[in-house]
Subunit: 320 residues, 3 copies
Amino acid sequence: MTGSSLQLGPDGQLRHLLTIEGLPRSVLRTLLDKAEGYADMRRGDDKKNLALHGRTVVNLFFEASTRTRTTFELAAKRLSADVLNLQVSASSTSKGETLLDTLKTLEAMQVDLFVVRHEASGAAQFFAEHAAPDVAILNAGDGRHAHPTQALLDMFTIRRRHPSFSKLKVAIVGDILHSRVARSDIHALRILGAAEIRVVAPRPLIPAGIETLGVKVFNELDAGIAGVDVVILLRLQKERMVGAFLPSTGEFHRDFGLTRARLAKLSKDVMIMHPGPINRGVEIEGDIAYGDTRSVILEQVEHGIAVRMAVMETILANRP
Amino acid sequence: MTGSSLQLGPDGQLRHLLTIEGLPRSVLRTLLDKAEGYADMRRGDDKKNLALHGRTVVNLFFEASTRTRTTFELAAKRLSADVLNLQVSASSTSKGETLLDTLKTLEAMQVDLFVVRHEASGAAQFFAEHAAPDVAILNAGDGRHAHPTQALLDMFTIRRRHPSFSKLKVAIVGDILHSRVARSDIHALRILGAAEIRVVAPRPLIPAGIETLGVKVFNELDAGIAGVDVVILLRLQKERMVGAFLPSTGEFHRDFGLTRARLAKLSKDVMIMHPGPINRGVEIEGDIAYGDTRSVILEQVEHGIAVRMAVMETILANRP
Amino acid sequence: MTGSSLQLGPDGQLRHLLTIEGLPRSVLRTLLDKAEGYADMRRGDDKKNLALHGRTVVNLFFEASTRTRTTFELAAKRLSADVLNLQVSASSTSKGETLLDTLKTLEAMQVDLFVVRHEASGAAQFFAEHAAPDVAILNAGDGRHAHPTQALLDMFTIRRRHPSFSKLKVAIVGDILHSRVARSDIHALRILGAAEIRVVAPRPLIPAGIETLGVKVFNELDAGIAGVDVVILLRLQKERMVGAFLPSTGEFHRDFGLTRARLAKLSKDVMIMHPGPINRGVEIEGDIAYGDTRSVILEQVEHGIAVRMAVMETILANRP
């Protein structure tokens, strides 16, 4: 059973969120609609909601990410769940057997929802396959495979400016090869009917056969982003910055970084996106990220909480 | 004053939980009865209870144990307490003086309950001796001395299958010498009137004089577990696996590990227990733990939350 | 704009708490009065208050301090806020740019209040300068600059014994040079009108020009504390115990440590204070801290929670 079929129940309702691939457009839209209800909470408001009162959410992170964990923790707390953060070293659970022990032990504590992040592709699916029927699994990033809540928050952010995707042109720029964000965004954009999806990267960072996902490949930045409505920059992982794939970060920035000069050639309504955290002076020139109205990077962060609240509430409500 | 007298108030009510030794049978039974009220909470339920609303519980762990801390954290949160997790390196508080400073400082923050885990036997008692009269101390494991909530959850799990202990035969298998779980289980089984308690281990892992606790000693596994109703396997601590006490973990498994072949010789109703986490292929053959109906290891985990909630509520309610 | 003007709104209300310097006496008194309302919560009480229900407080600690973080965490939880603890290594955010990224990212999650601790003087002010208008910043210690909540809890503790400061003589003893506590206490004592403020330290630990703050300098302990009502001992940071500033901790204790013999020469009503954690046998003889009625060190800890609750509630209530 694949992740995409595993996550849907017999009536097509969302039981887990493992991947964007294969999600019906209606499910995706329903999640985005539900997130609208959480997107306008502001400082000063009582941001607490009783939807998950008395439920137990465990953030089970085998791969460290304070920032991502923080967004899930806040989302769960604002829904009134009890939240546990467990940071597990992947090395101590390298075998499937002990991953299973961890799952079964926490399940026995009547945990309702696991937010799982793991460096191995397929880890969240493994959890969903082996979990008790009334446990929900939320993939917070598995290897190079998928990062579905990131794609949802990206779509949410785009949709607020462009309610229809049918004429939308989107360029995804950077390390496509290693990026679970790129994969999840491509699936989401196709499902929502985007007119054109481009991937823009130096050849070594383009995965073989990517065209089969319905994208156009560009190996040159200016051509790749010309005329688009949205530019999604990907984070260049430090460990991949220098080595087999790239000569240097300086060279990457020169050829594929979004500079003021390049930004000037784009539409004044273009949306500049990045999943964060940014590497200043690598993917993007320092002061564009938080100092230019075309950058919606902080809107993405804000919407991340709303989208995660919507997903948590949905998959827990859909339990048998 | 010993821990066993220190933990009981003038009217015999439980003020702290430091050790099972010396607890009246009625106190032990009342705790198990109270835990019944928390044992049937399920996923999907609102598991929140207001018993400790506005009280402050500190998990003060001088010895790292994510798993045990998690069970106390969940228990306290489900009782609506405010919970603080403090992981303190034992080296930084090696002297009684600074242990006292830590206690007094946290007490001044109006902490109601301390859950204390320490590698030194007697640490929880030290806290109870020096704490303010209205502070409650819960021992979450002190050196080789005691682990009372583990014994309570073991008794709870056994009692659900065997309401009367009077005909019960129980074998405790493994590193008896270093095990606070073994000590606490032996005391609990005696107090509840178990018919026969056996300890089963290679000679170097049997403490001198253990017979005075009312147990039978076996140095051979098959004889030791023949005819028993319950087998409690102990965790073999990694640092003791090889060295003065044991030739090798392989040899331990061959001679004292619970294999499928050995399990086949036992009653089909035998209960296989382990405090976790298990070392697969050492104390137990890989797939028995979570793949055989005779293993109740996950029930133990589940009951651990209920038992800890019952203890927390009891000792806080019994404050002067 | 300086921290002292930045923290007051157009009508003189407290918007952030960055420093004691420049605070109007009325503001300071109002905070202390409000803290009175929280100071009598006891074990056994339901210590929960709904003032910050549904608000989000982030403890953003670039400098590790479990103890200080604990007091802010408890204060926020007792006010029913959702609390996130983020421990950030200062090295990873050494540039102002990335400090700003951290602020802006967390702001986008609709965080209401940041409790900031940083080894660099001015860090909290930097946050206040760049924060959104409805975000509140609470300085939990910035370099050698300020530690305003420590000064407030010290004043609170003194005021409970001495309702009027007008005849009060206070000596601050120890490493004045590196101490943000000393600076904040001096400002607070002046604002509240203390009769005499002394600083007592070996010459290398007295900052040049300290007299301009209105204090008298003493380089000898017995003379420095003779006739005072309050002795505030400062913590000697370990990394500064030996080296350029001091010959040895033994010598420091001999010359500047509060011993039983020295204590005997002081008034029987003298208050002995220390921000904690104490170094036994360095600043103070072992058993005075928690074993002498003149020591109010534990009262300071207790009042620390009340004062922090008062500050959090005040600066969040004063948002535009």
